[in-house]
Every structure is written in C-alpha cells, then in structure tokens.
C-alpha cells in the first residue's frame, strides 16, 4: 500500500512538465524540488540529530558562490560541481568543529554567527564576491549532451538529483548510523555510556547535511544563473528551517511538503502582497503555537481526532 502510494507520487512528480502547462509552473516545481533537497539536508541535523542550525544558508551559498567563481574563471561543469561540493564539505567540517563546541542553544547561536560571517564576506568582500550585485553565470550545463536550458529539462535534471537525495536519506534513516544519530539526539549520555563517539556521529551527520545543502546551492545557482548575498542571509536559513519545521521534523516526507508549502506561499503571496516577510513570520509563530509537531504529523493528528479515534 505504502509502496504503491510512493510509486504513484513519484510518477506524478516525474511527469509534471507533461501535464503542467506554462513554464512558470514548471519553474515553481523545479524550485520546490531544489528547496526540498535543501530542506532534507537541514532536516538531517534539525530533525534526526536534534541540532538546529541557522547557518545552513551559508553552506548553500558557499556551493553557489564557489561554482559561480570557477565558472567565471572558465572551469568546466564537472570541475565546477566537484569543486563546489568539495569546498562545501570542507567548510561544513570547519563549521561542525566550531558549532559542535555547543549543543542546544549554543549550537544555534554559533551557527547564526557562522552564517553571518559567510553573509558578511558575500556582502562586503566586493573583490571576491562582487558584493550586493552578486555574480551571474552564462549558461546551465549540459550533462551527457542534454541541454538544461529549458525549464522542462532543468526540472527533470533536478528531479533526478532529488531522487538520489531521497534515496540517500532513506538509506541514512534506515541504517545503523541513522539510528545512532537519533540516539545522540534523544540520549546523548546513554550513547556515550554505550561506547558511541557522540561527537563523531554528530560531526558526520553535519557533513552529510552540509553536502546536500551544497547540492541544493549548486542547483540554485544553475536555476537562477545568479547568486547574491540574499541567498546566504539569515532569512534564507530561517526559511529552510521553516520548511523542515512546517512539514514535520525528523520525517522523510515532512521537509518535502514543507518546501512545497513555503515555495508556493512565497510565490503566491509575493504576487498579491509585498509583505512576504510578515507572512513568513506569522506562519512561524502560528505553526509553533498551534501545530508544534509540524504540518504532516499535525494534520494526521487532527484528522484522526476528527474521525473519532
């Protein structure tokens, strides 16, 4: 039953460009997928490891900026992707070493500060990042001779990456390592007593999380063909976290639903009102106060209660 549902959902997602008319909507679908990948990455830490990061837009942005710089210097797309992801993982390691000096609130504050450093570099170090004007790239890549210039082909490429991301998340959650990560979230002291290296488990989870944030950042650059400090701002980290929380932390599907929700609201809301930030803030407050466990589990709860169970 569950397997069939999953297959049906994937089939619907795979064929989106065929039955959705208009490039606008196909582009929104691409955005949803790329932000879903980002949210899945953030969820590894926020959901499974219990470490709330407000600096992940920094990692997302580092991948995008590195790729843009190397492309600008005339690098090939394979080099670009490899270098951008490698840089992101190295920076993630540095972030992790620092942020894991604290847990809980200490972790949150350190990641805020780290994210702001990246923002500061992106915004102020004009020689490197072109400051507020951002960096544009000329074209999307064409892997295996498939041009990604059209919205449809870009959607499918993003979809393939998305499938890999989901598969890796499913493997992660089901693996003994995934169980160990959840163990460090719920009972760090007991895990230590059982002989697990809690720090190392969190560190590896951070790298895994950073890697997928980097992948999303790379897709973001190719999607927009542009990156600016806005992509690394605290608001961007907060949005990613909102996706995770609104969908439901520590679930596989939650971040995807959350990403869809945020991207759709953002596009719809910004078409009608200027006050996107107000809406975003109000959703934060509303979700936390009324549906603290997230939309997916929250809706299930409300639905069950409605059916009188």
């Amino acid at each position: 039953m569950k397997r069939w549902t999953l297959a049906a959902v994937l089939a619907i997602l795979a064929t989106v460009p065929l039955w959705v008319s208009g490039t606008f909507y196909v582009n929104i679908a691409s955005q949803i997928l790329l932000y879903a990948i980002f949210a899945l990455g953030v969820n590894v830490l926020a959901g499974y490891a219990g470490l709330v990061s407000l600096g992940h837009a920094g990692l997302f942005g580092i991948a995008a900026y590195t790729a843009a710089k190397i492309l600008g210097a005339g690098g090939g797309h394979v080099t670009v992707a490899a270098a951008a992801l490698a840089t992101t993982v190295v920076v993630s390691a540095a972030f992790a070493v620092l942020a894991l000096r604290g847990t809980g609130l200490g972790f949150v504050m350190i990641t805020v500060a780290l994210g702001q450093i990246v923002w500061g570099v992106a915004y102020r170090w004009i020689g490197l990042t072109n400051g507020d004007n951002g960096i544009s790239i000329v074209a999307r890549p064409s892997p295996f001779g498939l041009a990604l210039a059209t919205p449809r082909s870009f959607y499918w490429a993003t979809f393939v990456v998305f499938l890999v991301a989901i598969a890796s998340m499913a493997a992660f959650v089901g693996s003994p390592f995934g169980a160990a990560v959840r163990g460090t979230r719920d009972q760090p002291r007991r895990m230590t007593a059982l002989g697990y290296n809690v720090w190392m488990i969190r560190f590896v989870a951070f790298l895994f999380s950073g890697f997928w944030s980097g992948v999303a950042g790379l897709l973001y650059l190719y999607y927009n063909q542009f990156v600016s400090p806005q992509a690394v701002a605290l608001t961007a980290s907060a949005e990613a976290l909102l996706m995770v929380i609104s969908g439901g932390t520590g679930t596989l599907l939650g971040p995807i639903v959350g990403a869809a929700l945020v991207v759709v609201i953002k596009n719809v809301a910004s078409a009608y009102i200027e006050r996107w930030n107000f809406v975003l803030g109000a959703i934060f407050v509303g979700i936390v106060v009324f549906m603290p466990e997230g939309l997916v589990p929250g809706t299930v709860r409300v639905w069950r209660r409605g059916r009188g169970r």
């Binding site: 500060a113 500061g120 570099v121 915004y123 170090w125 605290l234 803030g281 934060f284």
Partner: protein, 286 residues
C-alpha cells in the same frame, strides 16, 4: 583629533550601546534559557517609536524612556502569551522569536517606510567637550557614561538587592529557586521586560549615531550574539567586557580591513569558542 583617537572614542560608544543591548539578551538567556532572536527588533522598534514621539514634540530623553516602555510592554506580551507556552522547547522558541522579528521588521517597514530616519542629537549634548586638552564629541561621551551608569545600576540590582539575589538564584538553579519559594515565572516576565526596555532604550540613544533604517535589527542581533558568546551568558561583567571588545573590533576592523570587517569581528568569538566554550566569564557550557 587623530584618527586613532576618534576610532577609540567611537569604539567605546558602540561598546556602550552594545552593552545596553546585550545585557538584556544575556540575562534572558541566562535566566530563562530563551535565545531571544527578536532582541535586535526590540532595539529597532524602540528607535522607530521614538522618531514618532520626537516628531510630535516630545523631548528626547522622555521619548527614549517612553519608547523603551513601549518595547517592554511588547516584550512582556510576547513572553506572557507566547514564550510562556513553550517552556524548554528551544527549537520552538528560536522559531517564534525569529518569526516575530520578521513580523516586526515588516511592520516597521510599513509604518516608517524604508528611508533611514535620523534622530537629532539632544541640543544640550551637541558639539565637543574638551577633556585633557583634546576635544571629544559630547554626545558620544554621554552614551559611554550612560552605559557605565546602567552597568553600575544593574550590578547593584543583581548583587545588592533581594530581587537580584532571586534572579541569580533563578539563573543558577531554577528548580531549586522554585522549591525555596521564589516565584520564578514572575521573575521571567520581569527580566524579559527589563531586557526589552534596555534594548529599546539603547535603540533610541543610539539613534543620533546610527540613525534608524530597515535592517538595523539584523545588524545589531549578530553583534549582541557575539558579545554574549564572548562574555558568557548570564554574566554582567561578561556582557560589559564583551561589548567593549566587539565595539573596538568593529570600528578598528572597519577602518583597517573594510572588506573583512565582519570576519575580524567574528574571529575572536571563534577563538573563545575553541578555547573556552562557556565564554570568558561564563560559568558553564551553554
């Protein structure tokens, strides 16, 4: 006046403002374990409120105190009706305060528009005061003095009064404080309002130097975070020392490495985290 001396005076001034801002954050964080990411918004909201009051002809200092009160009331409402429902839920508190800061920023943009607003320096404090044969900008000296007076006042409050003893007990061990009959929940509201008032007040008196503009909240919040990480949460002395360190780093960093000012600002924080994660004057790891 030489450039270096000017930078030093500016650093002390910014340090004073940061102290007023971060001491509230630090107390709230130390006592209630709430990371109030709306603290920068309190600062900005205070400044914006005062521009309206001053435009209606209210005197600068009255406006500063009243705007602070407005922010304190707002903070009290937030604490009482939202944060109170989320005890110990760190993630939820982070999200709510962040969400509130977005809402405040957007409302400010709606009400006071996107143009920067200058707050005029109070007439009595314009110009320069000569001190040891050199001229110093009077208003900047006044801010530093106000910060020191508040530091002394807060020290006396925390160390020399019954209320202060109760707050310290709450910081050290809230459960035990409850058991011995301290109404910790009322303390929470009081400290939150006090912190909000200080932030709002700092926003107003910082107005003549920084002016008020959208994004001021996001610029001040990281500075306050750095101060608290540097100095250690819940420590008055930590806030004071941390504020002046950050004040100096920010001004000198901006003068010497304008493109890397932000990085210069965060480096000492990173060093402190690696060497002494609880902060210079913190007692335990956060």
């Amino acid at each position: 006046m030489s450039l270096w001396l000017l930078l030093a005076v500016n650093s002390v001034t910014l340090g004073g403002l940061l102290f007023l801002l971060s001491v509230g954050f630090s107390l709230i964080f130390g006592l209630m374990k709430i990371p109030n990411l709306a603290h920068g918004s309190f600062f900005m909201l205070g400044a914006y409120l005062s521009t309206t009051l001053i435009a209606r002809g209210v005197d600068f200092w009255t406006a500063a105190i009243v705007s602070g009160l407005g922010v304190a009331v707002f903070g009290g409402v937030v604490e009482r009706f939202i944060l109170r429902r989320l005890p110990g839920a760190e993630l939820a508190q982070v999200l709510v305060t962040l969400g509130l800061s977005f809402m405040v920023a957007d409302v400010c943009l709606m009400v006071w528009t996107g143009d920067p607003i200058r707050i005029d320096t109070p007439a009595a404090l314009r110009g320069a005061t000569s001190l040891m044969g050199r001229g110093f900008p009077t208003y900047r000296l006044a801010i530093s003095l106000i910060a020191l007076i508040f530091a002394a006042g807060l020290w006396a409050l925390l160390e020399r009064t019954r209320l202060g003893a109760m707050i310290r007990a709450g910081v050290d061990d809230p459960a035990m404080a409850r058991v011995v009959g301290i109404r910790v929940s009322r303390l929470f509201t009081m400290v939150f309002c006090l912190g909000a008032w200080l932030a709002g007040f700092a926003g107003v008196i910082g107005g003549p130097i920084l002016s008020v503009y959208p994004g001021l909240d996001g610029e001040m919040l990281p500075l306050a975070l750095v101060v608290v990480i540097l100095g250690g949460s819940g420590s008055l002395l930590g806030s004071l020392v941390g504020s002046f360190i950050v004040g100096f780093l920010y001004n000198f960093g901006q003068a010497m490495f304008p493109e890397l000012a932000y990085v210069v600002l965060f480096l000492p924080m990173l060093i402190v985290l690696v060497v002494r994660p609880q902060g210079l004057f913190g007692r335990q790891a956060v």
